[in-house]
Symmetry: none
Subunit: 215 residues, 4 copies
Amino acid sequence: MFGYKVIADRLVSLVSPKEKLEQERRQQILDAAETVFSKQGFNDARMDDLVAESGLSKGAIYWYYKSKDAIIMALFDRVFLTEMKAAEAIIDADGTAEENLRIFSQAAVADIRHFERLMSLGYEFIALASRREEVREKLQGYYKMYREILIRIIEQGITEEEFDNVDPQNTAMAFIGLYEGIALLWFIDPLGLEWDKLTETPFDMLLDSIRKKES
Amino acid sequence: MFGYKVIADRLVSLVSPKEKLEQERRQQILDAAETVFSKQGFNDARMDDLVAESGLSKGAIYWYYKSKDAIIMALFDRVFLTEMKAAEAIIDADGTAEENLRIFSQAAVADIRHFERLMSLGYEFIALASRREEVREKLQGYYKMYREILIRIIEQGITEEEFDNVDPQNTAMAFIGLYEGIALLWFIDPLGLEWDKLTETPFDMLLDSIRKKES
Amino acid sequence: MFGYKVIADRLVSLVSPKEKLEQERRQQILDAAETVFSKQGFNDARMDDLVAESGLSKGAIYWYYKSKDAIIMALFDRVFLTEMKAAEAIIDADGTAEENLRIFSQAAVADIRHFERLMSLGYEFIALASRREEVREKLQGYYKMYREILIRIIEQGITEEEFDNVDPQNTAMAFIGLYEGIALLWFIDPLGLEWDKLTETPFDMLLDSIRKKES
Amino acid sequence: MFGYKVIADRLVSLVSPKEKLEQERRQQILDAAETVFSKQGFNDARMDDLVAESGLSKGAIYWYYKSKDAIIMALFDRVFLTEMKAAEAIIDADGTAEENLRIFSQAAVADIRHFERLMSLGYEFIALASRREEVREKLQGYYKMYREILIRIIEQGITEEEFDNVDPQNTAMAFIGLYEGIALLWFIDPLGLEWDKLTETPFDMLLDSIRKKES
DNA sequence: TATGAATGAGTCTTCATTCAT
DNA sequence: CATGAATGAAGACTCATTCAT
């Protein structure tokens, strides 16, 4: 990821001013979209709200994105990509499997806190998934990546005899599912429970169940 | 639940033919709404789609519900109520805590399978929750009920020394979160994994971690 | 044609009030469209102009026609059909070929005078013809019908030895072309020349050239 | 016509390089406009289509023409002028009236074939004529010129006793109308009839009717 | 001169809701 | 109670034109 970022930064400095402007404008529009859509939902958000929020004109927005839907999809990709990159950051981590799992879990937590404002957006996308093949496929890719990272960590744990000989696939699903579910509960009732507590116990429970029992 | 149904049936037989018709019409409308909304989402569904699906006229629908939103809310309540009733059915169950937990878990599973078609509807409601106090409160109530049932079972397990002395609240959240999360993953990628398998391992993992260790 | 009209009238009286209303509304809309489109052209005409001219609401217009283009096409058909029926009226005429030709020619003249206001509409349609297969085909059908009527009259003239042994096809084209061309010139410069005079001489010239020369 | 062209060429060589560039650019724009407008019609053609077709930028086009309408008018003038020049070429011809008429007729034929692609453009202009005084006047001028040339030829024929003592004005209208009408029919149904055949017979018919009968 | 990003008034169309019958 | 024609406010999108660079 770091390497990637460096390359990306370099790329930015290499692009023409014109391309830089285009990138800026697109970010400007997606920033506005993120704010407006997460506040009002895709359907209740008006293009005029994007105009007001972005400070651009209607025409300018349509110059960069051909439709409201295109903006939604671009926003999806941006959120998606950001999360993917955040996840990739953990791959390189070395340490015991449990440490890696904890780092990953904490990253996920941090992630969710950070993208607190994106959660409603996220459920909009999920609601879309049943109707839009394209969205569903992207979400599948996203979770697949997560699963693979976790599977690798769990396999590491098994190999290094930290963990019992569990099924890595199912175990990974358990971890991911747990986090997603907890996030959902927290989204519905953010004041009802503290996020950290909400997170730690279930994680420890799962971890506990796969930790190599002394014999 | 059964008792309830009996009561409901009695109620039906006690009401006047006029009221009976009204209830039938409302169910007709909500049936159509369930189908149409789950297929197209709240926003892409047209009142004319409800007309076509229900076989009623536009005027008839507006006779029984004052707006599209009222139908959405009534549908929410119906889904909500059905789930609540399904959950209540387990309260009376007697058996060991682990048995009850398993029964509850299987009910949840059965539930989800049964309401497979309602899942997209569910995520629409969740997406709504961040913008509509009313929806959020109902969802909170729904999960609160679930939590309380689980807490009771877990407390039973602790009291009867089946389970370790875990925190009932957090443990309940872990179970609920796990199921919700797994459901979400399955919703995104239904073909990717079998539902039963998807469900059993995580459940066993959690259960394993709270089961009283021999000392 | 008369028979047709009678049937049509009967049909009207047989249709339900609902269908009658629909037909009235559609005529109302096409009447407004005729006025507005002929005055402003298809593109400069606004749906709001149709609203104002028809006395109906926007929604009512869209209830009966799904788009502006659908109205244009329906208007085309109405104009087209009216002209076709007017032409058919002449078929039954008996008399010498020359008389029939003159009747037909005068009908065409009368027709054009009557549809003076439709001429700009006509040229809009003709301009459309190069881009819209559908329009082109309808116009082709229209002129085909005209040609066939004329061919029949000319063949009658040849058979009855009123006319020389000319090629009926080409001769028919000459007559039709002449009338269309004269109409076009008159459309461009209506004050520049009187319609009757504009019409008679060319007609007589053509007629003269095919009249059986005494030998 | 040739003389004119020579003058034009001289003019070009006399102007400054700056003016020469301007003339080139304007032709470039009108060339693109001719292509785009005849393919898509005035209304469906976008300024961006002109940009793409001309290879110039938006700004450049607006540098040379202040509006889309100005381009339409300039294009009209260019087409108009070209046709006028073609017609003028015949004025000088000497020969019998019938020869001149035939030359003129063949020129018109050639003209139409040559401007086959411009016909839809032509009908766009004609459709415009009813709404735009300016366009109507130009078209009137155009046909007036044609009429005058024909009148001169016909008067020549009468004077030289080739033709009967017909009314030159009406006879000219007959010839022009005939050609315009035939062109229209061919535009609607180009495959339905061959152009040459479509043209010759009517012409011969008219000619036949005015040719001096032997007495 | 030339560019093309930006503007924003103007359009068609949609669709929840109403109401005369 | 029921119908479905009618309403009209509202919204996404277009595109001729402008103007900073």
